[in-house]
C-alpha cells in the first residue's frame, strides 16, 4: 500500500497565526495593487476587465504571414485606432487579439450606440486591409489570395457591460449566502461562518492575484470563482464532517484537539483530491486555449488556495468562534476558553446529542 501520510500529527491550529498572516499578506498585496493602480493617474485600472464588463470590441485575426505587433500597431493608428491593445496568441503565433475600448464618453450618449458596436470593427478592417485582402472563404487556408481573416469578434455596449458586472457580483454573493445557509442547516452556523469566510478569502486572494498580474477578468472568471467557492466549501465540509463524527466518538477531548486530529486524518484525501483537481485544471491551462486562459488560471489559483484556506482559515475560525459561543453559553461559571476547560465539554455533548 503506497501512502502519502500514515500517521500525521501536526498542530495545525497552533500555527494558525502564521497561516493567517500569509493570507493577510497576500490579500493586502492584492488590495495594494488594486488601489495603487486605480489611484495612479494615467495608470492601468484595478482590474484588467474584459469587454464583458467594460464594454468594447475584441477581434481575433488570423494572418497568413503574421506581421510584428509593432507593424500592426502602426497600421491601426494610421487608420485612426490609437488605443487598441494588441496581443499575440501564445500558442498560435499567427493569431492576434485586437482589443478596442468603447469609443470615448460619446458612446453612452443616445444615438451613438448603434454606431459604436460597428465603428471599431470597420476601422480595424481598414487597417488590416493594408496587409492584403481578407479571405472570403470560411477559413484562411482555402483562399489563396487572402492575407488575413477575422475569425472572431466580441462587442459589448456600455449598458450591457454594466449589467453583466452587477450580475456577476450579485451571483457570487448569493451563492455564498446559499452555502452559508446550507452548512448552518447541516452543521452549526459557526461552521458555516468559518467555511464562508474561508471561501471569501479564496475569492479575494484570486482577485488580488488577478490585479497584481493584470490577467483579464471576464465572465468566465466569475464562473471560475463560483467553482472555487464550491470546491473550497467541499474541502471544509469533509473536515467538518470528520470533526462532527469525532466529537461523537471521543467526548472527552476538546474541540481544539479534535479539529487538529480531523485535519490530520483527512489530510491524505485533501492532498490527493486537491492534487487531482489541480492536475485536471493544469490540463485546461496547457491545452484549453486562449479563450479559456483566464478561466483556467483562476481555477488553478483557486484550487491551491481553496485547499489551503480550509486548513488555515476555515477550521481556526470555526474553533475560535465555537469556543466563544460555548463560553458565552456557560456564563454563570465564566471560564477562559483554554484547551482543557471542562465545562465546555458537557455543553458540547448536549449540543451534539440534539443534533443527531
Amino acid at each position: 500500500m503506497f501512502q502519502l501520510f500514515t500517521k500525521l500529527d501536526f498542530d495545525w491550529l497552533g500555527n494558525r497565526k502564521y497561516f493567517i498572516m500569509v493570507s493577510v499578506v497576500i490579500m493586502l498585496a492584492g488590495l495594494a495593487s488594486a488601489v495603487v493602480r486605480q489611484a495612479r493617474p494615467g495608470g492601468t485600472e484595478a482590474f484588467n476587465l474584459g469587454v464583458d464588463f467594460k464594454g468594447g470590441t475584441v477581434l481575433i485575426v488570423k494572418f497568413k504571414t503574421p506581421p510584428t505587433a509593432e507593424n500592426l500597431r502602426t497600421a491601426l493608428s494610421n487608420a485612426g485606432v490609437t488605443d487598441a491593445i494588441i496581443q499575440q496568441s501564445t500558442s498560435k503565433p499567427d493569431e492576434f487579439l485586437i482589443k478596442l475600448p468603447l469609443e470615448g464618453p460619446a458612446a453612452t450618449v443616445e444615438g451613438a450606440d448603434k454606431a459604436q458596436v460597428d465603428a471599431g470593427r470597420t476601422k480595424v478592417k481598414k487597417a488590416l486591409d493594408t496587409f492584403g485582402k481578407e479571405a472570403t472563404t470560411n477559413t484562411l487556408a482555402e483562399d489563396g489570395n487572402g492575407a488575413y481573416k477575422i475569425i472572431g469578434t466580441e462587442a459589448v455596449g456600455p449598458i450591457a457591460g454594466n449589467e453583466l458586472r452587477k450580475q456577476a457580483v450579485a451571483v457570487t454573493l448569493l451563492a455564498l449566502v446559499g452555502i452559508l445557509l446550507y452548512i448552518a442547516f447541516r452543521f452549526k452556523w459557526t461552521y458555516g461562518a468559518g467555511a464562508v469566510i474561508a471561501v471569501f478569502h479564496d475569492v479575494l486572494v484570486t482577485l488580488g492575484l488577478f490585479s497584481i498580474f493584470q490577467w483579464e477578468v471576464n465572465l468566465t472568471v466569475v464562473a471560475a470563482l463560483l467553482t472555487i467557492v464550491g470546491f473550497s466549501v467541499n474541502d471544509s465540509i469533509v473536515i467538518f464532517d470528520r470533526i462532527r463524527e469525532n466529537l461523537k466518538l471521543r467526548r472527552r477531548e476538546t474541540l481544539y484537539d479534535i479539529t487538529n486530529e480531523s485535519v490530520n486524518q483527512t489530510m491524505s484525501r485533501t492532498v490527493i483530491t486537491g492534487g487531482l483537481v489541480f492536475l485536471s485544471t493544469l490540463a485546461l491551462v496547457i491545452w484549453g486555449g486562449e479563450v479559456l486562459r483566464s478561466f483556467s488560471i483562476a481555477l488553478l489559483i483557486g484550487v491551491v488556495f481553496g485547499t489551503y484556506s480550509t486548513i488555515a482559515i476555515a477550521s481556526p475560525i470555526m474553533v475560535w468562534w465555537q469556543q466563544k459561543v460555548d463560553a458565552a453559553s456557560v456564563k454563570p461559571k465564566p471560564v477562559t476558553p483554554t484547551r482543557t476547560s471542562t465545562p465546555r465539554k458537557t455543553d458540547r455533548r448536549s449540543r451534539v446529542a440534539k443534533q443527531t
Binding site: M1, F2, K62, K92, D113, K114, V117, D118, N138, T139, I150, I151, G152, T153, E154, A155, V156, G157, A160, Q167, L174, A175, G178, I179, Y182, L219, T220, V222, A223, L226, T227, G230, F231, V233, N234, I237, V238, D241, Q265, T266, R269, I272, T273, G275, L276, V277, L279, S280, T281, A283, L284, I286, W287, G288, G289, V291, L292, F295, S296, L299
Partner: protein, 562 residues
Amino acid sequence: MNTKNFKWRVIIIAAVTLLGLYGVFGPRHKPTKQDFTWAGIKANLRNNIKLGLDLKGGTHLVMRVKVEDALKRLCENNAAETLRIGKEKNLPVTNAMADVSGGNFRFKVETSDASKVQAIQDAIKEKVDISDWTVSASGNTIIYTYPTSAVKVFSEKAVDQALKIIDSRLNATGVIEPTLQRHGAAGSNQILLQMPGLQDPERIKGMLAGESKLELVHVVGPPSPSPIQKYNTKEEAMASLGGTVPPNRRVLPYKDEPTTSGQQQEDPNAPKVTYWVVVETPAVVDGEQLRDAQAVSRTQQDNDYQIAFSLKKDGADKFGAWTGQNINQYMGVVLNDEVKSIAYIKSQISDSGEISGSFTKQSAEDLALTLRSGALPAPIEYQEERTVGPSLGADSIRAGLYASVGGLLFVILFVGFYYRLSGLNAILALILNMLLTVAGLIVLGATLTLPGIAGIILTIGMAVDSNVLVFERIREELREGKNVTSSVWGGFDHAFITIIDTHITTIISSLFLFVFGTGPIRGFAVTLILGLVINLFTAIYVSRTIFMYVLGRKQKAESLSI
C-alpha cells in the same frame, strides 16, 4: 452480500450503460450497417451533440428595444394632436408639449383660460385614447402622465411586437436555424438572437434593426406651379417657422440635385445636396397602413431601383380623400425621418406610390422587406455581439478535447498508481460518469459550450474525489485492524454523508450560475450539475457494486488491493 441484490445491481448498471452508449453514439434513425463502423459512430456522435455557437461558429446578438423612444414619440404625438384639436374646436390651447424628463412620460397642455380646462380635457378625451393616462390639472395647465404600470404593459407589448417583426424579417433572409428569444431580466427589454454559421452579421444586423418608418406627408409651401419650398440650411427652415418648431411641424432633410438660379438641372450624375423642408405632422398615412412593398427597376441596372408600395384599405381611403382635397399641393415620401422624394399631386391617388432614390438591388430588396414586415414599435440598439468563425470554433473543440483527455489521463495514471486494483474501480466509475454526462446533455437537449467542456473536466476532478474519500476511509478502517469486508462497507458508509454534502454545496453554487448566468456560462453550470448528479450514481452505486463483485469472488476476502 446477497447474490440476488447483486444481480439486480448488475442488471441496472448494464441497462443504464447501454442506454448511455445509445444516447451518445446511437443513430437517431433505423440502424444500418454503416452505424457500426468507426466513421458511422463519429457521424452519429456529431449529429447527437448540440454544439454551442462558440464551438460551432456563428453570431450571438443581444439587442434592446428602446421602448423609451417609442414612449417619447407617443407623448409627442398626443401633444401634437392636442394642439390640432384645440385649433379645430376653437379652444384656448396655448401650448402642448411632451415632457419625458426624469424617466417620466407625460405631456403638458397649457391654456390661456383656466375656466376652459374641463372643456379641453373633454375634447382631448373624445379624440385621443387617454384611458391609460392619469390626469392632473392645476391653474392653467393640465398634465397627462403615463403611469409606471402602463409603461410596463406598453414595454411588454413593444418587445413582443419587435420579436414578431424581427422573426418575420429573419425568415425572409434565409438564416438557417436561428434562435430568437427574450433575454435578460424582466423589464430589460432585451432580445437574444443566435445565428449558427453566420460570420458577417452586418447585413442582417442592418436589416433587423432597420426602422423603415415610412410616412406620406404634406410638404408645407405654396402649391405647384411654384417650386418646392426648400431651404439651404436647417436654420433657414427653422427661421421660416419663427425660430421654434411647433408641435404640428417637422423640419426634415431632403437630398436633391442642386438648383442653380431656380432651374432644376437634369443631370443625374451631379452630386446631391442636402436641403431642408418643413412638413406637417402627424403624417397623412404611415407605414402601418402599408399592404405591400416591392423592389422594382425599369432599367434593371444597379443603382436604379425603386420601391413600389401599396396601401391597405383604410390607409388608401384616407390617402385618397386627402389627395383629392389637396390637388397641386406638394407631398413628400419620408423614410426614417428623411424626405426621399417630393412630388405635387396631379390628381387623386388612392392606394399606391413609389419611393425613389438611387437604391442598389440589394438595398432596395432589404428595404422593401423591412417595409413589408411592418415598422418596429421602437428603435433597436445592439448591446452585445459575438461572432465565432468556424476555424476558431474547431480550434476550441480541439483544445477542449485535448484538455479533457489530458485531465482524464492524469487522473487515471495517478489513481491507478496510488490505489492499484481499486483504482481500476474508480477509473471504471469515472469513464461511466463521462459517458452518462454526455448522454445526459444529449437527452436534455442542452448545448455543449467551451465552458461546458471545462465543466466536464472539472467533473473529472470532483468525481474522483468521491472515490478518494471512500478509499481513504477504507484504508483507515484497514489500518485499525478491521477485516476487508467490513472495512470496505464501513468506508462507504462513513464517506456517504460527506459525499452528499460536498455534492449539494457545489450544486448550490452551480445553480446560481445556471439561473443567473447567460450563454456559455450556463453551459458550464449544466455540465457540472449533470456530472455531479451522475457521480452520485457512478461513484457510490457502481463503485460499490464492483467491490461486491471483488469481495464476493473469494470465499473469504483476506486482502484488498487498495
